[in-house]
Symmetry: C2
Subunit: 349 residues, 2 copies
Amino acid sequence: MLENKNNAKTDISELGEFGLIDHLTKNFKIQQKTTIKGIGDDAAVLGSEEKQVVVTTDLLVEGVHFDLSYMPLKHLGYKAVIVNLSDVYAMNAEATQITVSIAVSNRFPVEALEELYDGIAAAASLYKIDVVGGDTTSSTSGLIISITAIGRASKDSLVYRDGAKENDLLVVTGDVGAAYLGLQVLEREKKVFEVNPNSQPDLDAYTYLIERQLKPEARKDVSKLLSELEVKATSMIDISDGLSSEIIHLCKNSKVGCNLYEDKIPLDPQVVSTCEEFKMDSTTIALSGGEDYELLFTVKQEDFPKIKANPNFSIIGHMTDENEGMHLITRDNSKIPLIARGWNSLSEE
Amino acid sequence: MLENKNNAKTDISELGEFGLIDHLTKNFKIQQKTTIKGIGDDAAVLGSEEKQVVVTTDLLVEGVHFDLSYMPLKHLGYKAVIVNLSDVYAMNAEATQITVSIAVSNRFPVEALEELYDGIAAAASLYKIDVVGGDTTSSTSGLIISITAIGRASKDSLVYRDGAKENDLLVVTGDVGAAYLGLQVLEREKKVFEVNPNSQPDLDAYTYLIERQLKPEARKDVSKLLSELEVKATSMIDISDGLSSEIIHLCKNSKVGCNLYEDKIPLDPQVVSTCEEFKMDSTTIALSGGEDYELLFTVKQEDFPKIKANPNFSIIGHMTDENEGMHLITRDNSKIPLIARGWNSLSEE
């Protein structure tokens, strides 16, 4: 009746998540003088004063982003906060507030939501952020969590995705690939459990991997670490979709190329041993795994001495001229083009 | 396996939407000095400077908040923005930016999302706000839209829910009840259409009602109007859940009572005629209808001369001592306690 049926049909998966956002938002024009940075970085930047406001938002959908059969609700609440804080820290800003909206179906009793909010409160307490608003509504199926995180930073300390220059060093915090492997372990155990509900899983060999998947942390410390070292990152992004995908984001936004060295990628011993057990290539896992919530950033080459000995940081490559492209330099010195095969909720359908 | 099943089961509907939010967030403590106002008003207020930041968020779920069989996607996008801007205006602040997150199932082609974003863009353009971020992901069923709106106001111009005093006048903008009746008309036409897909509905008698439901506007103008009249509202809220529910919010937050006069409630002639046709009581519709997105506010009694002749405002009552309670004074001078029977997505299930 009043519905205007459009005849053209383009499947969403043809565009992919990033393509879809770009496509849908390409006509939005900036009208407010307080909008310093809109769509296109880890967070938007607002305000015309010396102290600017950073805003970022994420939507988590049951069955797409999490599976409650192995994700306890408290952990889910915690992780939902972390995912957003990570985006604020990736701007080199301080996270200060969040809003939390949830849609839930009737199958969740209040006690289940209490567990979820216990996790949210635990993260808020540890990261010293305030929950300042939100919305609670019903859903026809499943649980949906939408969190918006707000942060602050002085204008000069903000780090965007587009500041990397040729010859800058590419640096990653912590190690990568563990969260994805943790998910593989949990999914395997779920299948075992479905076949034999009495099986007692021995997960000792995977504790780090499972913790990275179920209770990740955001790198609140990096801003302070860099400041103490008197290093200003030239570009920064958080690793939510996999190292490879994030490097490509930095390169495209900064209009540079990149050489990434396979032997420099930091891997936890459990990642190496579990990859062997699962017959997976650890470099592929590191490049495409995602959900590590480490920070990836670039620094000027002259900062090499300040960064190299710090146990929090691994120098994994350097930026090149844009025309040289983005490559992985393998252990046997082959040069392979980097491609984004990161975790992508839309293309997985 | 890893899931921790909690045995206690309290059905969400036992708490209701507001009860649930209160219950889940009661233990959250404010830790940031930049959190001026957290949960409990139309929007949160952030910042320690003279210019403060206002943040509000809403989640719209298909099948709960909207029905795509009579809500064109473009209108839905428009309305989703309006709902949030209304909360910013209810703080007497200027709306400046929004983030938009959507979760969609595969049944939506890209063209459908383009329509949705066309509506978002139309609202953004008309209200001069920027879309600065968001998230796009898949959903296992239906469409979910989460919007966060950000605004700014000088510290002194912000109006909260808790500032009403005894003897203050209660004022509403525009008229109320039309949006809810518009929904009733659309639902009736949907049923007719299901029985006879060839029927041509004659909606001429309901144009205003349908427009209020499908393309509501937010009262961006009120802040300027009040400023020109040199009136500072003492408390303010937007009408999303129905006049009665919002009056109760103002009273409870401000710790006052209220007398609302039935004969003063502003109704459009289409509301009156359609209520007669539908055999509904127009006062009940005005009190409990919801989705009008008008503003409800209080002013000092001395501002009466400035407000009374303005066609944008209707003085509908006055605040009393808290112990006197909240009442509707009917046309025949009976005194009936006000109750919140507003549209409540959780208790409706």
